[in-house]
Each structure stands twice: as C-alpha cells, then as structure tokens.
C-alpha cells in the first residue's frame, strides 16, 4: 500500500470530526448515531443532513466505505447505512494527528504556562 502524502490530505474541520467519530463508533456508525455521538462528545448541535453530506463526501474521497443493513421497526423497516473507516481514512487521521502534534510540540512552553 502506498502511503499518503501530507499535502494530499483534503479534509475540512467538520469532516475530520465526522471521520473521528465514525472511527470511534467502529461497527456502529450510521447517520443518526454519528450525529448523536458528535453531540455527546463535543456538545455541538449538528443537523442530520449535514452529517449525511459529510459522510457522503468522505466516502467519495475514499476515507470511508459503507454498507447497508440493520433495518429496525423504529426506522419503518428502512435500512441503515453503516460507515467504516478505510485504510486511507486511518492514514489521514494519523497524518492529521502527527501534523497537529508536531505543531503543538513547537509551541513555546511559556505560552502554555501563562494560562
């Protein structure tokens, strides 16, 4: 597998958040669940259509893959669309984390201690 270059990563702030939450939820990531988890973890109130759009975009970029399943009565028998983070998605998460940590580590200690 060819590794991803840092400069190739194209991901928005909200998309990164959705990607992270999807990763956290692992086998249980679908529209409503992702929305709930974002609310629970960050307190941000997001809209279901926004979540769908972000998930679709991430899938198109290749960071997520999806499969259907898990119809329940409360969904009127409609299938859920589960999302899974792809290897590429994992790489993106790692790259982003590394970049962030590298940058964080270079912040002068003074700045952090004056808080």
């Amino acid at each position: 597998m060819n590794d991803m270059k840092e400069e190739k990563v194209q991901i928005g702030e909200f998309e990164e958040l959705v990607l992270l939450v999807t990763a956290i939820l692992h086998e249980d990531a679908y529209g409503v669940r992702v929305m709930d988890e974002i609310g629970a973890q960050t307190g941000r109130k997001v809209n279901i259509s926004g979540v769908h759009t972000a998930l679709d975009r991430l899938e198109k970029k290749g960071y997520l893959s999806s499969y259907m399943g898990g119809a329940t009565a409360e969904r009127g028998g409609r299938s859920k669309r589960y999302f899974k983070v792809t290897n590429l998605g994992v790489q993106v998460l790692e790259i982003n984390r590394r970049v962030r940590n590298t940058l964080y580590d270079q912040i002068p200690k003074v700045l952090l201690e004056t808080r």
């Binding site: 679908y30 529209g31 409503v32 809209n47 279901i48 259509s49 926004g50 769908h52 759009t53 679709d56 259907m68 119809a71 329940t72 409360e74 969904r75 009127g76 409609r78 299938s79 859920k80 669309r81």
Partner: protein, 870 residues
Amino acid sequence: MTSANPPKLPFRILRWFCKPWYAEVIEGDLLELYHRQVATHPTKARLAAYMNVIRFFRWRYIKDLEDFQPNTPFGMFKTYFKVTMRSMGKNKVQTTLNILGLSMAIAACLLILIHIKYQFAFDKHLPQLENIYRVTLNERGGNTPALLVKQMQADYPEVLNGTRISGPLESVISLQGRYIRQGGGIYADSTFFDLFPATFLAGRSGQVLSGPRDVVLTKRVSDKLFPNGEVVGEEINVDGDDYRITAVIENPPATSSIPYEFILSMPRESWVTNGWWTGNNFYSYLLVDPNANIDQLEGKFPDFVQRYIGPEILGFYDAYATLEDYFAEGHQYSFGLVPMKDIHLHHPRLSLGTRADYQSILTFGGVAVFILLIACINYVNMATARSSLRAKEIGMRKVMGSVKSLIAQQFLLESFVITSIAMVAGLVLALVCLPYFNQVSLGSYGIWDIVNLENALWFFLILIATSLLSGIYPALYLASFRPIAALKGETVKGGGSRMRSGLVIFQFSISLLLMVGTYIVYQQISLMSNRKLGLATEQTYVIRDARKIAGDFGAFKNQLLSQAAISQVGLANGYPSGGMADWNYTSVDEDQIQLSPNNIFVSSEILEVWGLKLQSGRFFSANLGTDTMNIVVNETLVKTLGWEEPLGKMLGRSEGHFKIIGVVEDFALGSAKSGNAPVVFRYLNDGVFDIFGGDYLMVKIDGNLRDALEHIEATWDRFLPNYPLDGRFMDDSFQALYDGERRFGLLFSGFSVLAIVIASIGLFTLSAFVLERKRKEIAIRKVLGARVGQIFVRIMTYFGRLIIASTFIAVPVAFYLGHDWLDNYVERIDLSSMIFVIPLALLALISLVTVALQTYRTAANNPLDSLKEE
C-alpha cells in the same frame, strides 16, 4: 402508536425528489429521529421531519435523468435499440441489401405518390369547383350550341351563371412588326372570371372581356410581349385581328384543366351570338345552385332538346315528321352534365389541357404497392430465415422473464429502425431520380413537391405501413419460440420455410406480371408505330397557316417546285393524325342513310402528295375546274353504305348533292385506338380557299431532306418576312399520337426493372442464407459420392419449382389485364404464347443466375472445409 404515526407528506416529498437509493437511508434516519422525539414533543417532531426533508433538498440527493428510466419502457427500448444495432452490424451485407431494396421501393413509392397527388389536384384551386358543370352532347361530346348557356340560364333558375369557351388555339401574335407564335389562347364570354377567378395584376377584374375585341394576358405572355412598360391599354394583333389588352392576370396553376395563356373575348359575329341549335362549336360551363338536384336538372334536358333543337332537325330532314321518328331511326341528341371536378381524371376528352389516363394512374398506384410489397417480403424472408440465429437470444430473454409481446415489440422496433433508415435513403434517392422522372412523366416536380409538410404525413404513413408489413410476421413468429427448445437449439431448422417459399412465389408472380406487362406495352407500341398507314407520311411535310399565302399560292407553289427535292405541293384543311371535322351527309337514294364521315377539303395534288392509292374512278383535276360538286370517298364509306358500284352515286348536304367520282383505298386517320372511318374528300379550289380554308400546305419531299427544308424556309421567308414557319413531317405527327403510350411504357418498364432488381436482391440474400445452412448437407452428400452437377441440379430444382409455381399465378392475371388494356386499341397485337414465354425465360434466367453462382461455389467447395469445423 396512533399519535406516533409519522406524517406522510414530508416522506412523500422526499421520495419524489430524492434518488431512491439515498431516500431509503435518509428516510430511515429521519424516522428514527421522529420516533425518538414524538413521545415527548410530538409537534416538534413533526416540524423537524418537514425541516429535515427540506434540508436534504441538495443537488447530490436530487434525482437525475437516470433515475427516471426504470419506470418507463424507454429503458427496454434502449436495449432493444442496442441489440438491433449489433445484429445489423453483425450482418452488414444482408442489412445493406435489405435497406437498399426497401429504399428503392420507397423512392419509387414517393415518386408515384407525387405523380398521383398531382393528378388528383386538378382544378382544386377553383373556389366553386363543386358547383361547376360542363354540358356534354350525347354523353361524351364536349361541343355544344352557341345559345345553350344563355338559354339554360333563362329557363332554369338553378343555373346561376355560365360561360362559353372555345379553343385552345395556336396563334400568331403580331406586335410592332414582330411575330410571336403563342399557344394556349381561348375565346371566352365576359362571365369567364365569375366561374374561374384569377388574380389580377393589372386592369380591373370586372368587365375585362366585355368589349368586342378585348384580350386578357397572363403574366407569362405579357412578359414575353412587353418585357417592360405599361401593358393595359396596348393593342396586339392576334391571327389578323386587333385586340385591346384590358388586364394582366396570374397564370392558372399547372393543375388546371383550362390551362389558358391568354383569353380573347368572343367575336361579335352571328355564329357566336346566335349560331344555330345544331351547330356545336362551344364548350359550355354552368354554375349551378349548390342546393339544386343535378339529376332533376338533367331530367329537364330532353324537353330542352325537344323545344329548341327539334325544330331545326326537322327542318333539315323532311323525312321525319317528329323528333321521335328521328330518334326511332337510332339517332341521338341529348345533353348531360359532367361535374368539373371529374373532368381531368374521368373525362379526359373534355379537358382543354393535358389528358389524364385514369387507368394508368391506377396502374402506377398498384405498381407502387407491389414494389413496396416485394421489398417488405425480402425483409420478412430474411428475418424469418435468420430466426434460428436469434433463437438463443429470444430463449434467453424469455428465461429472464420477457413475455411474448415484449419480444414482438423488440422485433417491430428492429423493422422500424431499418425502415426509417431506408426511408431517409429512399427520400434522397427519389430526389436524385426526380429529373429523370420529370422527363418521362412530363411532370415539372421540384424538390418542394416531395419535401413538404403535407407529404410528411404520407411519409409517416408509408414508414408505419412498411415497418408493420415487414415487421409484424417475423415479430410474431420469433416471439412464439418456446424458450427451452430455443435454448436447446431445436428450432434451428430455419422454420417457416413453407411461408418463405410462398412469399418468393408471390414476388416472382409480381415480377413476371410486370415483365409481361412491359412486353405487351412495347409490342403494342411497336405495332402502332410500324403499322401500314397507306400514306407517304415520311415524305409529307405539313405547314400550318397556309391561309397567309392564299393570295400568292400559285407563285409560292412554283417557287417551291423549283427545288429538285420537292416533287409536289398541295393544300388541305385537315390531315390524317392532325384532326379532321365530321360533317353530316345523307345518301341520295331511297334509303336516305345518314352518316358523319371525316370531311377534308383537298386540292388536286393531294393524291400524289399523301401517296393515296386510287381504287376506282379518278381524283380531282385542276384542269377540269368542275369538281366543286364532286367528291372522292374511301373504301370504308362505300362498305358502310353497302354500295356495289359507288361511282356516280350521290351524297347530300344542305349545300347540295355531291357525286362520287372516285374511291381511294383506306388509309390511317389517326391513332391505332380508332379504326378506319368513312372519309369524304371535297375539292378545294381557289373559290372555296377562303371559306373552308386551305389551312395546311402539304409538300411532298422526294430527295435530299435538308435541301428541301432549307428551300421551304427560304421561300416562306421571302413571301412572309419574319412570320414564323410551323412545319412538321406527317410521320412525326403520327408518332406523337403514341407519346402517351411511350411514356406509359417507359415508366412501366422502369418500375418493372426496379421490382425485378429488388426481388433479385431478396433472392440473392435468401439463397446465400439457404446455402450457408445447407453447407454441411452438401459436404456430406459429396463425401458419400454425389457429384457437383447432381448437387447443383438438386438446389436449382427448388428455385425452378418456385418459378414454375409463380407462372401459374402470373400468366392468367397478365392475360386478363393485357386483354383489358388492348381493348383500347382497334389495331392490336395478339396475346400469343410468345408474349409470356419471353418474359418467363428472362425471369428464369435472372433468378437462376442469381442463385447459380452461389450454388456452384458451395457445391464445388472441398467438403472437408465445411466438415472439419466441428
């Protein structure tokens, strides 16, 4: 859960705009959110459902074109279309030949269609067409008395208006020293435009023909005579009389049965203003009240005859006491009405313009249909023959759930696609052939006569009819395959072969019918052009307008005779093939037999000029000068009267009694359609020259043609400077009588050849296919010891049998139709067996050659090549 039921509307909206695949997931999520909230905040939950649906109205979730397809048959059509294209691509040669045959047939149909449409368009431009009637005499005669229109208008209130016409004539118009020959002149009453309106370009529409010497010019003539400047009010001289131009009008359309070029007012002479009731010199057109009963009006005509014509007839013949006695002798005198709208097609003799031949119009309509049928049969035969190759596809479709009607649809679409391509090609082909078609059919059709909105409907009809005719049988046939059998390959027998044989027999029958027809027409034309006329037509040069040199005839004649190639010059007021007048005579004996022979005034030289043969007695003599009361007759007249010794017998007319001094052998009078008729020659000397007209100068040429013609022209020009000479050989005049037949023959043979070519294309592809399927059979036969010749004969026998079968259909039909057509002619060919044998041999030759080459190639192949492929 009742209160928890989610609202339907937002989800319906969602499903309406959203792609189905997304809608499923989104709907699920929205329902989940709704159910979570509905217990605590039912209103909020509802509102949220609406809001969320609206929020999902995003480009990426909205349906695009693809998403609409599964609900319509277009998706299926798309695959049918694709399969059609592929199967066409797979059999390029057969597809091309199929399209070629269809497009040729369609081109022929289009050309015949515009021809027929043109013939049916005649006189349709007249606003009162439905109410205009032509008065006929004795059922078919077009000439009627001078007073008829006026009297009928006076006697019958339902006759609203009427006009008399005479002509058309060839005139010489002189203008400022120029002479211009112009045809299409007619004389008409001032009411002419009430019945036959025209577009006036100059001059007032009323009263334009009311003066005694008024002339109305059409634009064409006006442009010719006066290329620029004011026209109305000018004077022109027509055939010696001065006329004042009162108006200029648009030319009538080409589809007019009165195709005038200029209109002269009726002369103010007693024979026109009053005339006599038994003198028939005018065409009478009546405008009848639309509410009037035509049969009732016609029912009043016998009384009309009794009242006005009766007295005059009884005045002529003292032998009859009453008109009833006259009729009792077998005489006829009655008037009838023919609707103007029927004149062109059904009463061509009454037309003043081109004469239609309804029979030939119908014939060509039939030929068009037959040609199209032949091409359709090609398609049917190929489609069913190749069915075995499609069997697996059909079986597969059925297994996958397709039903019979869908498969039939597919093959109909296939034939529609092929016909559409052929339609476009046929249209192009028709446009390319248009100039040649115009030449032969004497039409003047342009591109826009074919390509126009009205024809678009016809094209569509032809397209639908053709694709149904060629597609419906193969479609039903193919659709009826049983899927399992088809997949197993059990229908590979190339089914429907009996049907195919039947269709090929049909094609052969039509081809043979058309070939025999062509052969009959050409044989008849050849007979007519080569028949013995009893006249020296090739040596007789006929010059019109002999009156012009009336005063100088002696000098003119001597001048002509000075050229060695000119042996004699005579005068006549009519000539065979050129039209002659019927005059009534009564035998001056106890029988008082009345007859209407052709009456020709001739000078004494005519016997020699025309090359007539004297049977007994003598011809007129210039030296005696006493022949004015003598006549010469032909054999037929003598036979008609049943006289043993005609010389010295008398024929009477109102002018006096005429003594027969000679009898000439019969000679042709006109077309072979009419037989011999009685002829009376009267003597034309200087005294009657002006009255009965030496209209024609007859010059006998015996030697170098060119010298003679040059000399005639030079002499004419010396006597009549600038006056155009109008001369032709009598032979050409005779041949011109058969122009109609020649054009018919040419068109007919053209379409026959087309039909045979299309049928041959079908035979070629069909035989190629049959042989391809028989390749293994032939190979095995060869392996088992059959010789090439035996195999060849075996296959040719199959096609030979088809030809023989078609003979039994085509020959009786051809015999019947040929007999019917030949009934038009008095002098006619016999329908001998040769007439059928020659076309049959030709057809057999064409078709066997088509098959033989392929058969031989297959039969001569090395059997190993065909067998080793397993």
